[in-house]
């Protein structure tokens, strides 16, 4: 009996889910191919798009703990022993305290055990939640930039491992996380730029009030001027003569250096991520390549945008694609800062606000054929989904689900990375928060 379109559609879907290409399946049904192809692409597009939706790791961890507590409660209730009425309240309090203690201690252990978890391992959501806690305690923008850069590098390595193992679904999900991480880092750089701009603007205003006339007509001996002098707007000093710059200038200089360091950090980290991702592109399954290319492009965009300050004088500052070494906005007639010196920005009112949301959105190609997540999933149920429940219920990732040595060193970048537990260490509060 001839198959109808619905049956052929279902058969092709199943074959594509198992890793076959749409074209290959349609070759079996040349008469129906023209009609079925767009439908198959729509179905695969919906599957891929939906798989990008990941539950919030904190929510997953919270729910896991609640389920764990409910399981423990159910176990405690099992020996149907009816307590006497007088001790009932004491028993419930004891249980509550025990549950809290259990959850607390199991969380600590789980958080540490999860630090090396990979996206396909049960403890991975715990790792993500722990990172969120670490970020919550990175109070300064500088610390945030450093932590986001670290986390982005971790994501890139995880993507490389998943790509090598042919786990398309996890590559796509982790690529989304990497994009978030890089953009968060960029946000923090912009925040630093804003602070720097505000400080420089206030100094510029105060300097204009105190020394306007001579500075406007003085020549600009840039090569001999010290940074502090430039920032303070004073005349060049004789060699060896030491002066103490005004405290406000120090603050501005420090802010400038912080921003420069943050930009350098992002540049270095993003370059490393691009290298890792490009290095794995060839080995990645074809279905994972669009996601990999997308995240590589995203990384290049972030890299391009963080080359130079965005919060400067209302104009993009580019010198043949290289980062400008001194911020513009210097007061005319003042000694010019040298290559690594801070300059002065115009008053705050002239400063253009940052545009962190400028990332051009590339719509997900609904019609692009990509085998869906389930086609690459292993059959072992203990390893197919990341989970969040604390030990002892979930086996630690160092056992069967741990990859081999080659898996842990993508592109040779692992050695420079801090371990996951280091993320918790400096902040020391992830478990307290939990």
């Amino acid at each position: 009996m001839a198959k109808n379109l619905e049956q052929i559609f279902e058969e092709c879907l199943e074959r594509v889910f198992r890793g076959e290409s749409i074209e290959s399946c349609l070759m079996s049904y040349p008469n129906e191919a023209a009609y079925l192809e767009p439908l198959l692409r729509t179905a695969i597009g919906v599957t891929n798009r939906a798989s990008m939706l990941q539950p919030n790791p904190e929510f997953k961890a919270r729910t896991g703990m609640r389920i764990q507590a409910a399981l423990q409660y159910a176990v405690q209730q099992r020996p149907a022993e009816k307590p006497s009425r007088g001790f009932a309240w004491q028993k419930s309090w004891a249980f509550a305290l025990t549950a809290v203690a259990l959850l607390l201690f199991s969380s600590v252990g789980t958080a540490f055990a999860s630090s090396d978890a990979l996206p396909d391992e049960p403890l991975y959501p715990v790792k993500l939640a722990t990172e969120q806690v670490a970020l919550a305690f990175a109070f300064s923008e500088e610390n945030k930039v450093a932590l986001h850069a670290q986390l982005a590098e971790k994501r890139a390595e995880e993507i490389a491992v998943m790509a090598r193992e042919g786990k398309t679904d996890y590559v796509v999900a982790t690529a989304t996380r990497l994009s978030h991480q890089m953009e968060q880092a960029e946000f923090s750089v912009r925040a630093l730029e804003m602070k720097e701009a505000a400080q420089q603007a206030s100094i510029a205003v105060s300097l204009r009030k105190t020394q306007p006339a001579p500075a406007m007509t003085a020549p600009a001996p840039a090569s001999t001027t010290q940074p502090e002098e430039a920032a303070a707007g004073g005349a060049p000093q004789a060699a060896g003569e030491k002066t103490t710059p005004p405290p406000a200038t120090d603050v501005a200089t420090a802010a400038f250096r912080k921003t420069e360091r943050a930009r350098d950090l992002i540049q270095g980290s993003t370059a490393k991520n691009i290298a890792v991702l490009e290095g794995v592109l060839e080995q990645a399954p074809s279905a994972a390549k669009p996601a990999l290319n997308q995240v590589i492009n995203r990384a290049k965009e972030v890299q391009q945008r963080t080359i130079q300050p965005q919060v400067i004088d209302g104009k993009p500052q580019s010198q043949n694609g290289k980062p400008p070494k001194s911020p513009p906005g210097i007061i005319p007639g003042k000694p010019q800062p040298t290559s690594d010196q801070p300059g002065l920005l115009p008053p705050k009112s002239q400063i253009e606000p940052p545009r962190p949301g400028e990332t051009p959105k590339q719509p997900l190609p609904v019609d692009e054929p990509k085998p869906p997540r389930d086609s690459t999933r292993p059959s072992d149920t203990t390893n197919t989904q990341p989970g969040i429940l604390p030990t002892p219920v979930v086996p630690p990732p160092t056992g069967t689900s741990k990859p081999d040595t080659s898996r842990t060193e993508p592109s040779g970048t692992t050695s420079t990375q801090p371990s996951g537990s280091n993320l918790i260490g400096p902040f020391g509060t992830s478990d307290d928060k939990r």
């Binding site: 729509t42 939906a50 896991g64 609640r66 176990v75 203990t382 989970g387």
Partner: protein, 181 residues
């Protein structure tokens, strides 16, 4: 149901916490996605997903593994909770989709990007007839095989295949209209 899953379900029914945990980890993301695309409001989807697993834990003793696969049973719970929620929701005014996304605690830029993609898909799904919505959600979003979708919805496989085919064609039409208009 695979023999491994069958073993896990048996152990979970017998009160083995580890077995239930493995089942939980295996199905959590899929259940969440399914609920989210039916509800379209993140906070509500989280509440319902949590409720699905608490309910599953509560009633795992009544699960008969010979009748339906565990996933089908779990999605049946999710489906019932979604239907109950929609009934209640139709009686009260609720937050629009945009507002629901805006309250997310995650990275705002990334959320904005994902918001459009997810909102597009959720909005497209909403334009399908309910039966097609259910099949598309279970098949493409929860990733269930056709036989399990049929068991979950208590329909024949032939009916589910037809709904899947028509639902996909409708979705394609909705996406094309979105692009052109």
């Amino acid at each position: 149901m695979s023999s491994e899953e069958e073993r896990l379900v048996r152990e979970a029914i017998a009160g083995n916490q580890a077995a239930f945990t493995v089942l939980y980890n295996e199905h959590f993301d899929k259940v969440y996605r399914y609920v989210y695309f039916r509800i379209s409001v993140r906070s509500e989807a989280e509440d319902i997903t949590q409720e699905v697993f608490l309910k599953a834990l509560q009633s795992i003793g009544s699960f008969k593994w010979r009748e339906v696969p565990f996933a089908a049973w779990l999605f049946r719970i999710a489906h019932n909770l979604v239907i109950d929620h929609m009934r209640k929701k139709s009686k009260h005014k609720t937050a629009p989709l945009e507002e629901a996304w805006a309250v997310s605690v995650e990275d705002p830029v990334a959320m904005t990007e994902q918001r459009f993609e997810m909102a597009d898909l959720a909005a497209a799904l909403k334009r399908l007839p309910p039966a097609q919505q259910e099949v598309i959600s279970l098949r493409f979003i929860a990733g269930m095989p056709i036989a399990e979708v049929a068991r979950t919805l208590k329909k024949s496989e032939g009916t589910v295949k037809a709904l899947q085919f028509n639902g996909t064609a409708s979705l394609r039409k909705v996406f094309s209209e979105g692009r052109n208009g």
